[in-house]
């Protein structure tokens, strides 16, 4: 596993920014001309701030971190999709990517035609493709369907075809981004096996996943990205442990009564990973358990989100519950809070809200753009015209 005289991919002091969409839609020429010189002023968001990364032959490196930390941006730059705004990216060899498996396939073309397109796009010549096609179909288990148009395929079959093509291109560098969200369990197992095989054959693998167990299974090294910078790097097990420790709900224990009815209060992202920080507009799930009430009282349980040090809640939602034990989860589709430190307070009251039976707090760090003083930063549009 030692580096053979140089990295296959090397990023040096890489900065990358994004243009913030004005109203969540693509810009139009008409709109830009109508706004005049003001349109030239741009709003930027720095997704990466001076990141170094080297990926060596036969090495699998995981990129972990909360949503919006910059993992996918880093992966793309490593693969030569776009260029950094500052810093350098050097790359040697053929790059394969498993991102959105099957999305690039065309519904009106047959499996064979699609496979040819995908293989040539991934770096094979047509002659090489013809030599390897039988093997690809074999691996995907799609013999009967090779010459059927793609709209006859199920989603799982499409993913299998796409994966199989990429797995037979034998790239020098392989980028994997949440690829295992598609397909059934058996297919996922084979994907992981195949990725490990490619790694052992010398492919450098860059792996993005929220599944931290999988990360430790596939990768020996990990890089923890946080708010566009590298927070920690090294042995995958160590980095994952540090990440979990920092992102876990430790503050909840510090600020709650462990003997009360509330247990397991946790903040998570939609994939189930614990979060302690999110970017404005991102989703959040709050989950907890309420134990049975010894006195048989009917009760209420609530989630309040408020800025640290303030009384007025930014978000307040509650539901009644019986005296039985129950588990809860509140999924916020998006939290358009301005950046700052917040606390999530989960509590249980009696039915008449007279007595607090238990309360726990979890700190939440919201990052992003926007004025600190305001309460909300929802997506919005400005329009103006002369009086």
């Amino acid at each position: 596993m030692s580096p053979d005289g140089g990295a296959l991919v090397e990023l040096h002091g890489v900065w990358r920014r994004y243009r913030l969409a004005r109203n969540g839609r693509a810009a139009t020429l008409r709109g830009t001309l109508a706004r005049g010189p003001r349109a030239l002023r741009r709003d930027w968001f720095w997704a990466l701030r001076g990141v170094d990364l080297a990926v060596h032959r036969g090495q699998a490196t995981a990129l972990i971190g909360p949503n919006g930390a910059g993992k996918s941006t880093l992966l793309r730059l490593a693969g030569g999709i776009g260029r950094p705004d500052r810093g350098t990216v050097r790359r040697r060899g053929r790059v394969g990517a498993m991102l959105d498996l099957g999305r690039e396939l065309h519904p009106d073309l047959t499996g064979r035609q699609n496979a040819e397109l995908a293989a040539v796009v991934a770096g094979l010549t047509r002659a090489e493709f013809r030599r390897r096609f039988a093997e690809m179909v074999d691996f995907a288990g799609l013999h009967a369907f090779a010459d059927q148009p793609l709209h006859a395929y199920s989603d799982g079959m499409r993913a299998r075809l796409a994966f199989s093509v990429l797995a037979h291109v034998a790239p020098d560098v392989l980028l994997v981004d949440e690829v295992l969200a598609v397909g059934d369990h058996a297919f996922q197992q084979r994907c992981i096996e195949r990725i490990a095989q490619l790694r052992d054959a010398g492919t450098a693998v860059l792996f993005v996943s929220h599944d931290l167990q999988l990360v430790q299974h596939v990768c020996e090294r990990a890089v923890w990205i946080d708010a566009g910078t590298v927070r920690e790097r090294g042995d995958a097990v160590d980095v994952v442990r540090a990440y979990l420790a920092a992102a876990s709900t430790t503050p909840a224990q510090a600020e709650g009564d462990p003997t009360g009815p509330l247990h397991d209060v946790a903040l998570r992202d939609p994939w189930g990973s614990p979060v302690a920080c999110l970017t404005t507009g991102q989703p959040l799930r709050v989950s907890w358990r309420v134990g049975a009430d010894a006195e048989g009282r009917r009760r209420c349980t609530s989630v309040v989100l408020r800025r640290a040090g303030q009384d007025r809640p930014a978000v307040d939602t509650s539901t009644p519950l019986s005296s039985e034990a129950e588990a809860f989860e509140v999924a916020f589709e998006r939290l358009d809070l301005t950046p700052g430190r917040y606390e999530v307070v989960v509590s249980v009251h009696d039915h008449g809200w007279a007595e607090c039976l238990g309360q726990q707090r979890v700190e939440l760090d919201v990052r992003g753009q926007g004025p600190d003083g305001a309460a909300l930063a929802p997506p919005h549009v400005w329009q103006r015209r002369p009086g």
Binding site: T28, L29, G80, I81, G96, D100, H106, L109, T125, R126
Partner: protein
């Protein structure tokens, strides 16, 4: 970066050619279907337009151009190549976001593929055009130089294709602008009339329009039966080189953020 060895450069060139072939094949299959009959759509749309224009300018407003059907067919075929490439290329990036997001994918290929697809459609309607030329006894040896003319056409349109594709990725309404502009250019380009019929004070309109150069080249070789004029060819070459240089520069600038705009 060290220079790649010759073998690696050959492999890369081989791959680029294969990529273009595969993508043009995909576009043709997608627009005309995989059935053999589907490919007839390309000459059919040309024939319909030729039919309408012939009716108009032979019977309604006679233009007094000999063998008008052969004359207008040359113009329509060249025009369909030009307008097809321009209109299609606006969506070369926006319709292929998943390809743009492939690592190492040479995005510059996509607008050029639309030019290739439009050229293939032109070649598909060529047999019908040649049949009309034979029927009117206009086909001469000069038609053998058609490949040069087609290459000049592709060169003229390659630069604009790169520009409008990049612009439409940034501003999504560029395709409407291009659509409207192509509609106007159809009348400003001598497709269904002869440049010689333009009043002298309007000749500059055709002279300033590179698309007119291309249409006139097609007509010289096919309809007039003489070799392509050196002046016209030189003009196409100059427009092609300058346009492609601008197009490549615009694309290079757009490429840094292309994947994010889609």
């Amino acid at each position: 970066m060290t220079r790649a060895p010759a073998a690696a450069r050959r492999a890369a060139a081989r791959r680029s050619v294969d990529l273009a072939v595969v993508l043009v094949a995909r576009d043709l299959r997608a627009s005309y279907g995989t059935a053999a009959l589907g490919l007839l759509w390309a000459p059919l749309t040309a024939l319909v337009q030729v039919g309408v224009l012939s009716f108009l300018f032979l019977h309604v407003v006679p233009l007094d151009i000999p063998d008008y059907t052969a004359f207008v067919f040359c113009g329509v075929a060249a025009w369909q190549l030009l307008s097809g490439a321009l209109v299609r290329s606006t969506e070369a990036f926006t319709d292929n976001r998943d390809l743009v997001r492939r690592p190492g994918f040479p995005t510059v290929v996509l607008p050029l593929v639309t030019v290739g697809t439009a050229t293939s459609a032109y070649l598909l309607s060529l047999p019908v055009l040649l049949a009309v030329l034979v029927a009117t006894d206009r086909l001469r040896a000069s038609a053998a130089l058609l490949p040069v003319v087609v290459a000049a056409t592709a060169a003229v349109v390659a630069g604009p294709a790169l520009v409008v594709a990049s612009a439409n990725a940034r501003f999504r309404d560029v395709r409407h602008v291009v659509g409207a502009a192509v509609g106007v250019l159809f009348y400003l380009t001598p497709v269904f009339y002869d440049v010689a019929d333009l009043p002298a004070r309007f000749r500059w309109v055709a002279a300033a329009n590179p698309l007119a150069l291309v249409v006139r080249l097609h007509r010289q070789v096919l309809y007039e039966g003489r070799p392509p004029g050196a002046g016209l060819l030189a003009g196409c070459l100059a427009v092609g080189l300058a346009g492609t240089a601008v197009g490549l520069a615009v694309h290079h600038r757009a490429a840094a953020h292309l994947a994010d705009e889609l």
